[in-house]
Symmetry: C2
Subunit: 151 residues, 2 copies
Amino acid sequence: MPPVETHRPLTIGELSERSGVSASALHFYERNALIEAERTAGNQRRYRRDTLRRVAFIKTSQRVGLPLKDIREALDSLPDGRTPTKRDWARLSLRWRKELDDRIAALQHLRNDLDGCIGCGCLSLKSCTLQNPSDELGASGAGAQRWTLPE
Amino acid sequence: MPPVETHRPLTIGELSERSGVSASALHFYERNALIEAERTAGNQRRYRRDTLRRVAFIKTSQRVGLPLKDIREALDSLPDGRTPTKRDWARLSLRWRKELDDRIAALQHLRNDLDGCIGCGCLSLKSCTLQNPSDELGASGAGAQRWTLPE
DNA sequence: CTAGAACCTCAACTAATGTTGAGGTCAATC
DNA sequence: GATTGACCTCAACATTAGTTGAGGTTCTAG
């Protein structure tokens, strides 16, 4: 049985292929301190295998709309230079879970507003257009309040 | 009782204040055919009052992460040059509702993955790090499949 | 009728998130 | 030991979604 190369670091091509992120994007992430790499004698990058997990985390977080700046901030809570422990990741996950919960809640709120009134043609603005067809907000309205979710 | 100026068109300052969108952004939306305006004899913009609703729709859609291109496409289904009817808005809302449902589902999926395994330190990758601590995916893995949601 | 606020256009700039290409080096194979 | 694919850096470009500023015009209140 041949030894499985479980600890060999990854080249950028391997990391790119396995993460689905282009090499140029990996360069970019490195420039922005989201990931890091060792170098060979010939100056080529070699990634610790746990970088794959970091990249998965980056991709995932981006897909829910978080900017790289925030992602970097979160990743900064992981240790430099060694593979994070499960405790390290668990700490991170706790914060992220809250972020996700908030976003889900915001979307649901929005959808409910939409259901509640856009479907009837008034977009949930101050009062229903069916009652007040000429002006969506009235001359003395306070703005489209229901559309401004709390930041 | 003074007549309420329910039909007077809005200046850009008024629209900006009431929508919470800067005048420069309104110019930008107009350049990109998301909104339109009449002009006074002196070339100043005058907006139909239902533009307020259009702008609310734009803002809202942006907050859920939709690009202006998609928003414009949706708004294109509304009639030019006249105030949309409730039927017009209802048609739009149907498509948007589906979009929102999809996004909510994607986020929930993500959160469940996170709960399921990032909390234990293995990020839901191919097999749990607790069992397989040296390599997150294994030397023959198929990539981080669980992290790739269907587009 | 005039001052000042509000508006106009156009061009240049910003920031985030990368991609592309030029010009050169490294490493694995025949 | 030469070839060839993978890699390197650096600079320029692309896209989205606007903002800023210069220079000029319009509108409204006194």
